[in-house]
Symmetry: D2
Subunit: 450 residues, 4 copies
Amino acid sequence: MSITPEAEEFIRRGIPLLGDPLLPSPIERVGAEYAPEMTDLKEDDRVILSPLLSEHERRKELNDPPLSYEIAGARKKIFFDPRSTRAAIVTCGGLCPGLNDVVRRLVLTLSYSYGVQEIFGIRYGYQGLVEGSGDLPFMLNPKEIETISNEGGTYLGSSRGNQDPVDMVDFLQRRKIQILFTIGGDGTQRGALAISREAQKRGYVLSVVGIPKTIDNDISLVERTFGFDTAVSLAANVLRGAHVEAEAERNGVMLVKIMGRQSGFLATQASIASGDVNFLLIPEIPFELEGPNGFLQALKARLERRGHALVVVAEGCAETLMSQNSDDWAKDASGNLIYDDVGLFLKTKLGSLMKQVEIPAKIRYIDPSYFVRSLPAVPSDSIFCQQLANYAVHAAMSGRTDLIVATCNGVPCHIPLEAATLGRRRVDPEGPLWRSALETTGQPARMIND
Amino acid sequence: MSITPEAEEFIRRGIPLLGDPLLPSPIERVGAEYAPEMTDLKEDDRVILSPLLSEHERRKELNDPPLSYEIAGARKKIFFDPRSTRAAIVTCGGLCPGLNDVVRRLVLTLSYSYGVQEIFGIRYGYQGLVEGSGDLPFMLNPKEIETISNEGGTYLGSSRGNQDPVDMVDFLQRRKIQILFTIGGDGTQRGALAISREAQKRGYVLSVVGIPKTIDNDISLVERTFGFDTAVSLAANVLRGAHVEAEAERNGVMLVKIMGRQSGFLATQASIASGDVNFLLIPEIPFELEGPNGFLQALKARLERRGHALVVVAEGCAETLMSQNSDDWAKDASGNLIYDDVGLFLKTKLGSLMKQVEIPAKIRYIDPSYFVRSLPAVPSDSIFCQQLANYAVHAAMSGRTDLIVATCNGVPCHIPLEAATLGRRRVDPEGPLWRSALETTGQPARMIND
Amino acid sequence: MSITPEAEEFIRRGIPLLGDPLLPSPIERVGAEYAPEMTDLKEDDRVILSPLLSEHERRKELNDPPLSYEIAGARKKIFFDPRSTRAAIVTCGGLCPGLNDVVRRLVLTLSYSYGVQEIFGIRYGYQGLVEGSGDLPFMLNPKEIETISNEGGTYLGSSRGNQDPVDMVDFLQRRKIQILFTIGGDGTQRGALAISREAQKRGYVLSVVGIPKTIDNDISLVERTFGFDTAVSLAANVLRGAHVEAEAERNGVMLVKIMGRQSGFLATQASIASGDVNFLLIPEIPFELEGPNGFLQALKARLERRGHALVVVAEGCAETLMSQNSDDWAKDASGNLIYDDVGLFLKTKLGSLMKQVEIPAKIRYIDPSYFVRSLPAVPSDSIFCQQLANYAVHAAMSGRTDLIVATCNGVPCHIPLEAATLGRRRVDPEGPLWRSALETTGQPARMIND
Amino acid sequence: MSITPEAEEFIRRGIPLLGDPLLPSPIERVGAEYAPEMTDLKEDDRVILSPLLSEHERRKELNDPPLSYEIAGARKKIFFDPRSTRAAIVTCGGLCPGLNDVVRRLVLTLSYSYGVQEIFGIRYGYQGLVEGSGDLPFMLNPKEIETISNEGGTYLGSSRGNQDPVDMVDFLQRRKIQILFTIGGDGTQRGALAISREAQKRGYVLSVVGIPKTIDNDISLVERTFGFDTAVSLAANVLRGAHVEAEAERNGVMLVKIMGRQSGFLATQASIASGDVNFLLIPEIPFELEGPNGFLQALKARLERRGHALVVVAEGCAETLMSQNSDDWAKDASGNLIYDDVGLFLKTKLGSLMKQVEIPAKIRYIDPSYFVRSLPAVPSDSIFCQQLANYAVHAAMSGRTDLIVATCNGVPCHIPLEAATLGRRRVDPEGPLWRSALETTGQPARMIND
């Protein structure tokens, strides 16, 4: 993962503190519940971004200290007084397995570990942070939310898009909410930053702590996002069935579309997990449909050799294909696109091309769409969600703001909000993940006619 | 289930025997393996079709004996000599969970219980019963097929459509195959009948035994088909996720299409199992989209009341909707339908209608399609598959032909092929299944403007 | 299933009515919600117990009318006024998948279909029907219980054992509860009968309707109990893993204990579903450990032939084994049994016997115990639970009492409580289920030295 | 993870090479299949063990270069000629989910990516590497093993214990096997080292590459072992059911034993994932049963407060408990321990102690034992297995030996065999994992009377 100079600048600036944390943490004081040595954390340690020796030596030569993040975790002193502090939680954007695990653990840790008594659940994303939007926030009670992680979705509701930060800070200020947890993707975290800046402008003490969420696992600097293992698992299950369908017929071709507008992480991991995928098309890897090196010829060769094929296309390949085949997208009488679905397009396109080359292949299409993201989290995700939520609470209670919680080299850490919202991760065409994909599928490394 | 006079006639005729079963069954002779009392079956008992007292009394008044089927199971005497008999197995039509359980158990019972030594697996459905079609049959060996039921799909491959019975009997005769197991839907079983008649015409001794297969559970006279529990389970899981998606947004509307061209059994059972479906549209129940009693008004009322909705539409509703809204189906420049997918149609249609009534509802669509049928069978189906396969082997070895194996009032029985291929079962609009669906969904019983 | 004269007598007496049902059912009146034709049920039809032609002819000769049950379902007229009637629900005995589906649907149907407004949830089984037991009943509200079926267990809590009917009727009478749904096994249903008789004695109008529950599927006259498919599924999954363990080692022997104190239905169905079990020991089938035809010799032969074995033992085999090997059960210094676990006993016993015959077999043991019953119901069970609950509500509202709801030949019906509590179903050593088990395991039909 | 000086010494020595890799890798030459840029790996980069800034600065002050591992991955030059090289694969020790994924990918990568044509599968662990042990190795063919990862267990069989390295090298030498992949825990890897040393002594060119395997995730220096996510998932599922059982009764206490002889990683992660565990006992954390701060008092308090409890005990707590309560373990007449099962012991012990304090608690026990390790790998594990297998093949083909493949800070790397077999990882009582466990369970941090 290469770091831009802009991101490096933000990372070096570090995490702002709303004020000196002067209160002893209740985590230390609980006595029987938590032994003193449990918080014997080297609070001021940091985790270095790149563990590569080459990077270490490059910086050493330049006399440049290594780039690092603050470590996440409970602090001995906290800033907010739990008895009088109000917190709020908001979930934004599309669903992702584990949302309810995060919400649940935020509430339990705020409540049981720190003693925070008023926790607001904001309804339907940032919409619910605007007065008069119709849905009032409700109080989140540890007992009531005990079992919400058994269900997928979000207990709070969600929505897309940002609202005016002025309205949102008005809303928070009116209710004396001083901690806001924002669970969402990079758009959401940019909104979180805007809220924090508006509060600062007013001199309103507000901690904004983000928990990064994306089904595509493509948030910049974030090595792992929650819910991804679950989505891979569900998608791999769909691929298992699709493989069986392809094999059942002579020249059976199954086409499966997997979520991922900008990046192909989900499609790639699910394909590797399945082990049965023969062609994987993702937005990071350019390909052509036609010509001697094009995908069609490769598919034809595969059918002649093995008699069936399973093709996975990531949602975001639409752009690649539309630019190459703009005339072929179905249009209505007025020239408007009837569908912008890369799966349906590819199905039609493949069907007619197969006819040209006289292979009697039956192209069938599965679009699991939302199915890969709406079920409960698998245990590995559930554990990760709980850890992130714990770290988010510790960060907020210590008086930190403008950060997201994440891991770096497996170590929990705080990443400055500004740094994390600068662009996205994409599958590296020269990295080990894509190489594994090529090994698993056996597809040509380049499907381009030069 | 009402029986037509034609079907009654076929049922009364009974199951033909290829000749007198004169050989003692090895099942009796195995000694240590099977104690004598195990086969102490009243072979000549029968099971009455209708267990209703009203039907009993109606027939009693008419002096009409009750309509009944022969009971399935091992017979003391068999017709085919296991040492010299060759059997073949063919799977036809679309996939269905449990196909491999049936194939596996046919092979194990033929081989281990009877000692049949040559069992052919026919490739890709009836296509593989035609000389020169490209795929030769292969021998099925008990060890090799031990674990095939861990996978979905069909180990043998499948195809749709029938071939010329003359060619198929040529193929069987050339290989001296005297028992043919046909696993497939009503089209397949009509093909099976044609094969049997062609063999009879030639005086070629051939037993044809069908195992009814349909993901839609709609074969006439057959109260339960294998794989259906599994399909319901998979579909219900998709609905669980869809419900979560609908609830996550204000005015969230999820539309899910479920397989079922002629009948809505799968959509209905999955909806009842889910418990979260608000509208269920199936081909058996007429409905209108527009007008004061139409589906749209009901959906609008639901959104106003509850703020989200989950709509399930069975594949076969296309006809209902096309006849009413023929102008709205997307056509290309030449006037051809661009898609004939009831889900995509309904999605578009609902979207524009919701706009008219000014409800800002987001219609999102999931089409799990083949996913509900391509995974391995759940245990209850797996057990059922094995029982059907056992009964099929017993029937064939005893010299019976032109039958399918099924259950009637839970009792395994033989149903004459002619009777079973006469039409399909459909969801009874006045029966308890549809009533349960109405109770579960809470949708209006009639969405029609009179 | 053979019917004792005593049971026949109870069945012929039929279901008592608390009084004439004079009120029109709201199900008819809802109008838009339920079209009139939906309740056009032939209310007075009945279902015949045996669908066998032989039984039909036997009775015909004796001039004996067929034995039949009343059909279950909604009636046009009801007895209880929904506006003023209070109902209560109690769950008793061990857990069973689907309990929450039953409770949920009872509440939804009472509330939404009939308009009953006060529904009590009784805590911890019959204990909660005794004043001063510590746990008060709570009101069941349709919204609150919407999602309880996503979890296993019982929302109400449970306990074993019966209480004094005098106390329980006191409790019901004090709260003016006139309908009681008892979800439990035969002990529970005998308790239900005692409650009903006590109420009758006092002239207190009380409808008692049972929903039969048993993980063992062994309630007399009841062809299918809810939760069984789920338990089979969970047990089969454990067997899948056990088979893999057995195969992984040379002479690997895995022993798995499956619930079932009196009957081996669960062990048998799970073994058939698994397809990998080599020996199945259930209480219905006598066997000996030692001697030339004993289980040990058979196991030894299997190991010599195949190198591994999977053995399933039903809990209830303890008796068989203790009577034969009374000296071998581990006892402490005072001569008390240290464990009464047939699995641990068999493990020890097999280990030492294998040593005698010098087979270096490693006996390993899995006891999934409660695991097979505590997870949520699979969809086929969930549907069945909902149907039973609907029928139970219809029966109670119509003024019927002293019955359980069940199916007979797949038709929903009312079975008199007295008849259903007379003994248990057991696996028939000469029936098709045990035959399937023998075919699947390949074990000797008799493991007894005569 | 602290590194001992001994381990540091081995790490600094690096990975031995059998000779100069002079052959061009076929991965580069495949052309259409693998574009040149795909192998543009900085082969000589390394990954630093500790990413903590404090460690970086400590070493900087000491002028000590950072401790690092060689990066894993394909090399441009290889040592073994694929056309003439024979490889062998052996799986040792207890089962672990993903074993078949590793075996499958080893074969596919050796065969398809490098063109190795002779790959031996060794039967039943190191036993199968001894001439005359009874089970001959068989050739592994890519087609035959395509679907083995759909099943749990090991396709090759396994056994415990090491054999004489002299015999094993005899075996390998006789068959001209020059690459050996050893999949197993630290005992297995010590055996691997012995084999390698014996070969070196003879001057026989042999590459030994280990893939670390342990269900307990406790191999020294290895941050993640394959199969662990799956085991956590299966164990969490058992805990879900156990929680439901505990809640169903008044004073219900469920006790669940989870694998883990030396370490409590599995018990801990499963407990965190479940979220329902109230007490977690692992070997790393000392505790006492009795006394005012003992576990019993804490359990009693919990029951009084909440009425039910779920207790998880890791297998390895037996030692803790036996030393404290040596008189209470059940013994037979001769004074031998009848069982050494910590679960059964604790069940009995708790039962009698609860009686003393007059809480009518019912202690029930689930021992899922082997069930948590014998099912197929979840997708996240399956992907990880495939990556490890790829790295292992690349390492061996390049002529490296005496290493295991693993990840360090998420980067694939080679760890010297000597370093990896020096001790085990244990749950850090002061680290974040145990803190999460305390937060999730709410149990007292210390259950010890000082």
